[in-house]
Assembly symmetry: D3
Homo-oligomer: 316 residues x 6
């Protein structure tokens, strides 16, 4: 199975042999009394319906919902939409498919975002904070996770690279804001802002779908992030304890309120600014995603948005 055929490229009568993620799977009874399989297949370009008309029961035993599967079939038109008429489906061998093909990803290239982030880091003047950020950036394993992790399972920046995109956006915003208000420790604010969500590299799993890890559900990214910070700080001789405390406070308090999962609320100007900016960035990203998803619909309003608990205005 050489190269990936993306859902958005499949047309009527195209022969398709490619990997897809099984989002839904059910068995129904066809007109001729035989069982058939109804599938919803997806990759990062979108979703497509599929039907397996023959040997449904045997084939159905070969894979489950949420598997990445190898599919053989052909594009067919039904009620004006292309779907897949499928001959065979089976679980893909481990590692055969590239997970990046199945999950949506950031519109921006990770390397480009990473360079931008490093440029911002290079502007940090306080030597210990500079060392701290360098030790994160020199940690290849960490950087690999940072380039791929989403920023959430279902609220905002829910795509591969979303964590880096959100981090970079917040870093840019606080850099601008730190000039606007007096009394702000710019280097501290920037460092805390870049670190605030780092625990998400371990909180979320995103092999085939976005979900939480065990540690994500049992501890959450705030505690994980502080643990990651503590580990790096231990490697830096003489890192000032007070600076460490203020950074930990920024991570601990960035959700702003206890009921949103922060065990402490912001009590320094840097923690306050971080909370407001990162909350705004999350909300604006979620707004833009909601609008983008329904941009083709005729209505001036989106469907009901659970995260916002309201309908959003798209305009005409």
């Amino acid at each position: 199975m050489s190269s990936k055929t993306f859902v958005s490229d499949i047309k009527e009568n195209d022969k398709v042999e490619s990997f897809f993620l099984v989002k839904d799977k059910s068995i129904a009874m066809a007109k001729n009394g035989k069982p058939y399989i109804n599938l919803k297949l997806m990759d990062r370009s979108g979703e497509i319906e599929g039907r397996v008309w023959d040997n449904a029961e045997e084939i159905a035993a070969n894979f489950d919902k949420n598997d990445i599967v190898a599919v053989k079939g052909r594009g067919a038109l039904y009620q004006g939409k292309v779907q897949l008429s499928i001959i065979d489906v089976r679980r893909a061998p481990d590692g055969a498919a590239s997970s990046e093909d199945f999950l949506p990803r950031s519109a921006r290239a990770p390397e480009e975002m990473l360079s931008e982030l490093k440029r911002l880091i290079s502007g940090i003047k306080e030597p210990y904070l500079k060392s701290l950020m360098d030790s994160f950036m020199d940690d290849k394993q960490f950087v690999d996770l940072l380039k791929t992790a989403p920023a959430a399972k279902g609220m905002h920046h829910v795509y591969i690279g979303g964590l880096l995109e959100h981090t970079l956006s917040v870093a840019h915003l606080v850099t601008e804001l730190s000039k606007h208000y007096s009394g702000v420790n710019i280097d501290l604010l920037l460092t805390g802002s870049i670190l605030h969500d780092m625990g998400k590299t371990k909180e979320l799993s995103y092999k085939a779908a976005f979900d939480y890890t065990d540690i994500g559900r049992l501890l959450g990214h705030i505690i994980i992030g502080i643990q990651m910070l503590d580990e790096k700080i231990k490697g830096i001789d003489g890192f000032p304890e007070k600076t460490a405390l203020l950074l930990r406070h920024m991570i601990a308090s960035h959700h702003g309120e206890l009921e949103f999962g922060s065990p402490k609320r912001p009590k320094t100007i840097e923690a306050l600014l971080l909370h407001h900016i990162e909350d705004m960035d999350a909300k604006i990203n979620a707004y833009q995603a909601a609008i983008a998803k329904e941009i083709a619909e005729e209505s001036g309003w989106t469907s009901y948005q659970k995260m916002f608990e309201r309908f959003l205005y798209k305009g005409e």
Copy 2:
């Protein structure tokens, strides 16, 4: 009573003849069995204790708490602090004292802030929004109020000129931020941001102390602001109804949630940005004011801040 003597300038033995605002007034019994008057006098530079030892009952009949009064006395040292030993106090004739002497005011000159705001307005390209903002800026009565009004009675920017300072700060911030996100109508965002709190020019009274007006308590600055906007729009031929609606929505929703007094929550990207930015600006101003007020205290923490429902960290 020629020129104002400010509380912060009074030293022991200084002869004082000036206007002050009476913040507290009570009658006590002196050591010799005679009643005397305890006063707390203030002007915008600070507060001072005062005592009237002779003719207390007659003199007490001449003024009330919250009056601006003409005071004759002399600086005296008591327990290491300067207070006023007073011979006479009486209500100041209407208009004799300048109200600006008694209330704290913005550190920035109103004319300078106004120029800055006008510069931002001059950058608006959409002609109807430009006309709208010009019609506000050409309304001398409105501009006079804008230059003096506080932004609140007790939360943030509680000083003469505070409304203008908050408005200008938000206007700067949205101007910078509007470049950061795609899909933002910059002119609409800037106009709505400048207008969002305009109702406060009528919601608050600040002759001698900061308080609410009747209309402030019965309607509030959101409804007042929409009424003010509607009046200006009526004077502009062909003002697009849709633009008017989006501006009204920004004013109506800028508190973000129903329980904070907004009858509608933000449903456009401009209303969302305005809400987040103006909320952050209010909170940062309140943080800075809390820190400034207790900067001389030894503790690394402020006293309990009711608005934040927490102690704030001042650092060492």
Copy 3:
């Protein structure tokens, strides 16, 4: 298509040619392998299932869910219920069907309710309030809307004429109550009560289904109602500003609490009475509607009522 055939009148074998509203539309596969259309059709008398067995795909292209359509078919019995076996469905030409046929409407005739309301208005003694109400009643466009608008999209009085019914009920109740308590300005209370929900004439759309308008979602009936009031007041020379303020306050505060969308809470006895009475009237109407809808069911309890967050007792 001469006259309307109502759903509640259709019997087995009746030939039907009439307009209906499409509440649901889906395509399924029939026993013979051919697609067919499943429809849920409605008018104000009730709902009926319909099936299009032939030419399903072509016919399905002629209309959408929520359209008013012209239907040709015949009554058929299926599992003991009458449904429609349909030959043709197509979108009705604009204006061909009367929207009043499709939405439920008040049990009371609008003209009768209007007369009753006018009788109450005629009892207002304060001349400015009398003029104000007259100017509303003389506004034909307004009165037309008042006679048809529902009082809500889904809480209470959800039917054509519901706004007028609710308004009249509240007006009657406050008239009685104003004698019960001392210190009530009867004319003010009555006027404010009649005006409190007037913004709903523009907040809600009810062509084919009950929904919100753009201005309804972006501003809401409280702000709209104050704008409508302001416009009428401008036409009355010398209308006392204080009376205007108290009326605006009644509209602004009638939901009682900020979290229910009132930007201010009631602070006068008239505003308090209005809030309590109109809340009670809405709740009682919703209770009666919930009971009426399930009166035929055997159980002594209604199904779960989302608005009340409870089951309601019907009794035996």
Copy 4:
């Protein structure tokens, strides 16, 4: 100590020998170095300051705060207000003073209110409900409590006779309203309305001040009321169980929401009406009391009302 001298009648130089309730008591140091007693004395007509200049320590030992005391003294003017210059104070013998002299009481005569209530009861047609109400009215001990109990410790109708006044007001209101809505069992509604707060006769104590009883704090008037109802019902042969259940439900649910102390929320039309009407009556009474208390003050607004969590508008 023959007859009561009321606070509101004391003038300068009047010789006073009467009972008062001690609301506050403190010892201070007089100008001549001797201790003296500061008192706040009250009866149902108001409050007055008192001073005991001689033998303060001995006299102070004779009574405590909250005692009813026999006072000998003389009216004296101090800072324009009459106070009492006192020679002797001592605890009043049990029963010597009439508790009715010390607590505020309803403006209406209890007997008159009782007659009115009985008139309403006489209109009940359902024989079991009639018997039930008669058995309450024939219970002399109950009726004595009903004539004196307040309706609350600190929210509304906080005065002797307040419970009867509130009960009567609610009974009148439901009688009028029951004609307004269809489907209401008028006799059930009236009976439940009269009974809803009966538990307060045992929940509150009001010998010298309004407070809760032990059973009031441990069970509350809702459970007490149901127990009282159950006892009366047991005395009526054949009282229908279903009617009993619906009455209990009205008592149990009349606070409307769990968080206000109702273990169940209203689920019948009678329980809903009772809740709305009795809540309104409590709020309007509280509004009127707040206004009345500060009617003499110049401001157009009351002081902050904790129960309403707002300032109330008195008007000019």
Copy 5:
């Protein structure tokens, strides 16, 4: 229909003639165009799908959802699962089936639990409390209900015998704990703990499914329980009023907070302990039930648990 065949025992080709509870019933169209009935049948051992292929319309008229029915059919394999191929279904004659066969029941034998409870009761030393508990245990009708009632409709101990199991568990726990803290009236605590949920014997119905009774929905088990207690106390000469009050308070307050349906919150150490212990016991039982239900699933986490508003960790 001699003995019960349990769902969990049915295998392919088994001939089945037994009673089942109908949990779901719908009519669909079979491959040959004929209607057939889809059933979900259950008894206390589990659920099974069933199909009636012939005479579907006639047979469907013989029973409804929630009925206990007599079923004739045969086990058949479909997609690897056993279902029932059914020839006849009809409503079971009243009393023909034993309700205990259809609802899940406690893993512990009721008689055994009852003995254990009686043993705990026998340890009560205070004679009035002992008499009280004896009078409950001597009430055969009550004990029969106690042995069968569930502890809730859907939160915890949702099975026949669940109330007794919960009561016994709480009784054991308070017995152990009462030694841990000083100042606890052990007999009072134990008695109140056994009585706290007794109202549930009348609040819940569990003939064929767990549901609320009318009195359960209109009054709830707290008020019912106090009524039951009052009745028993009346039969005991000289029962101390104060002890009765403290027991009633324990029942009234055991939910801990008003919003959970307690009209009073715990104010004695016995009421506090009872609240904490019985809440913990309910939560732990619910946790164990959630884990047990999904123990066979592969995931380390349960599905989303509405009662807990979270996923629970099962471990590996």
Copy 6:
């Protein structure tokens, strides 16, 4: 200043030379016109009023509120209470006074409680958990803090040794409970229970009064406790990562709900049990402390308890 004279031992005319903590300090004007100092002095046995009549201004300059001071004076009777007539007060030299004299402490000896805790620890069978607890118990610096730290600043166990007392109580309770429920990992539950509040050794300061440390306010005892755990675990080769995760989860979730400061809610049976038990232990301790504090008062009720938001019943 040899040995401590405790407040509770001072009698009239006793000569006193001892250290006290200054709880309040103010300057007033004496009868002769001279300023004097009013003091409230305290040690762990209680509080006493003090007066400095001579050289008040000089002496006042020698110390501040919250200082531990050396006091010279004599017991004097005033209004039936002993107070101190003071000749000299000055700040105590650092280390001169023993802080244990000034703060209330647990009724139980720390060494005894520690032994008991160690005995429980010795019962742990799982070797890694045993090693972990041993490494805590072998850390002398930690154990010293554990023996003195309070469990809170103002809710429960607010006394020296309170943390150890609470920890031991919870450890006993979970040991008993772990036998009551199936499926509980006893060693894990006991270990997590002992560790749950360990962060409080660094969260609270208690030199002269109970307060928070900087790290206490910025991070809180949950995050601190996890850091302390992580440090100990690093010292134990091969400590299972899963066990570490479950322990961290117990610490993180022990407050039960996000709004109480837990960033995650309990999701394992051990975390659930810990939360319920430690919450109960805190509440019961607070109840007992409230009762003990007012045991001498006549009333059957405590004063209003802010933590419980209610009055508590003391009984007769």
